[in-house]
Symmetry: C2
């Protein structure tokens, strides 16, 4: 399968590392996954089977893949001109405009490419348009990595729970805030924990989207649309973040057998993100940076899944499972 990678930040390089390190394993079990183009803001590398090890080194040393050496070609031109089966869209997420990912994805479909993305922005803002465009051009669109990182969630609900009516979904979908709350439960104050989380690379330099609940909101929009067939955007979510949670609140909750978690939930068509009291022995009480999701269904009843919501390899794991799924589908067709 011929793959274009658009965006070569932590996630793009994480995927490249996995495709490189697991090349033989993948070939043996699923066949070839060849990266035929990589684009970042500096330009693009194009080739029949790009040397991923070198591409990663060049990017990490110089910040620009054009030093591979590549050519001055924009991401859109790569999407249009390069012969490939799949575009992996992993540019930075923008929750205000969804761009440039939205345009990249739509142009990919128009130019006959399937798409895999980890990008929450376009999915939370333009889900319906993207799905309709994929359908119009008869292309596959997969985005397991956009919610919950390596924690199986979208494909789990759509495939392993196929046939079930999903009644509700609730979960912890942001590892940064879960880490902060877990540490605050140990008695540290918000500012101290946040500083530590930034130093450890768990929180971004600007952690506003995590702490305000906006990141979780984008994710439950994706779940509501993809799994429950709703037509929501991020404006439909009632959002409250964890800014006002104190170690004292957690201490008091603990004393009564509860903890406090930033929960995203979809119940009766309503999308809500807010800190909630959760019983200590609830399956939703997972610690540190872990993510968790609980599905309530008509046949399987409750199903809970726990996994790592972030990390380069973990996100690559979700992207890879989507790529393998597409590979199986297109081989089955031909």
């Amino acid at each position: 399968m011929r793959i274009i990678i658009i965006g070569f930040g932590v996630i793009g390089r994480g995927l490249a590392k996995v495709l490189y390190k697991k090349r033989e394993f993948l070939r043996k079990n699923y066949g070839d996954f060849n990266v035929v183009a990589i684009a970042d803001r500096s330009g693009a590398i194009i080739g029949e089977d790009i040397d991923l090890k070198r591409a990663i080194e060049v990017k990490e040393k110089s910040g620009k893949i054009i030093n591979y050496p590549g050519i001055e070609k924009s991401s859109l031109e790569v999407i249009k001109d390069v012969d490939a089966d799949v575009v992996v869209e992993v540019t930075p997420s923008n929750l205000d405009t969804g761009e440039p990912a939205r345009t990249h994805i739509i142009e990919s479909f128009k130019h006959g490419k399937h798409v895999v993305t980890a990008n929450k922005g376009p999915l939370a803002l333009y889900f319906k348009e993207l799905m309709e465009t994929a359908k119009r051009y008869n292309k596959i669109f997969k985005f397991e990595a956009s919610v919950g990182g390596a924690m199986p969630i979208i494909n789990l609900a759509k495939e392993t729970l196929a046939g079930n009516k999903i009644i509700s979904i609730r979960g912890i979908l942001n590892g940064t805030t879960n880490y902060i709350l877990t540490k605050m439960e140990e008695g540290l104050d918000f500012e101290t924990v946040l500083k530590e989380a930034k130093e450890l690379g768990i929180a971004e330099t600007n952690p506003y989207q995590d702490i305000s609940g906006l990141d979780t909101a984008a994710k439950i929009v994706i779940l509501a649309n993809a799994i429950m067939g709703l037509n929501k955007t991020i404006k439909d979510v009632k959002v409250r973040g964890i800014e006002k949670i104190t170690p004292e609140a957690l201490f008091l909750a603990n004393k009564r057998g509860y903890t406090i978690k930033l929960i995203g939930e979809i119940v009766n068509g309503y999308l809500i993100v807010e800190p909630k009291l959760i019983p200590i022995n609830s399956p939703l009480n997972v610690k540190g940076t872990l993510n968790v999701a609980m599905f309530e269904t008509d046949l399987a009843k409750e199903v809970v899944v726990v996994g790592r919501g972030a990390g380069a390899e973990e996100t690559a794991s979700a992207i890879l499972s989507d790529l393998i799924s597409i590979k199986k589908m297109i081989e089955n067709e031909s």
Copy 2:
């Protein structure tokens, strides 16, 4: 899709109930699932679209589907003679011989039918033969319901975690023993709990397979073969049951922050079932009849899934997801 149901006990009827109750939902989302034959030991019903409600009523009232009215035809004859896409094999599990399910499954492949089963016996004893036969006749073979009931496990590992190397699997795969241990943790003794579990229908009249660990052993054989590509049979499992666990042992474990669970595990190619000390706050510490599985993988790292391991609707949920998956595959091909 045309379906034959072989075996019309609790699981077969559970599937029929779900297909009947969710007929419109399924039609709208996935298309038609028509049952064209049902066989039990008394005979068979054959028809273009069997009235499942009536079939269930007749079986539950008289114990014999031949009173539908049906005809005197054996399961094997039905498999050979009736035109269908898929055979659902749900006769009682036999862990000594794997029969009659093994023959039913093999004959289904030979007669051009895909197979879905919930039957542990043939899978734990003749996995390789069954997979090879399916391959030889180019048929699909799915068995999500054989392990963990409604808890997603086999398809989760093979699809949502595709691309990962599964390093180890450990879990609680038997709801009856988990219920007994949970109740004993509350101070009740083994015999009292077992009696109660039988009365509630949680334990079978002869719960030997559950308590001895044999049921769990069969399930980890299936996981080892299906997910990790090993070639094991039930004879390869080191098995110890929960017969010797006392409320006192649980009390002492609790005092030190542990509980005792019957854990099945596959680590470094070894298959072991035994009661193990598990930290109270471990994700493996799930209560009551719940099942849990923890995968250790190279990319996604740890993934945990919790769900209901038994129950007619829950098992039907897993069978249904396999049927939907086959429907999508054969429609994609044609």
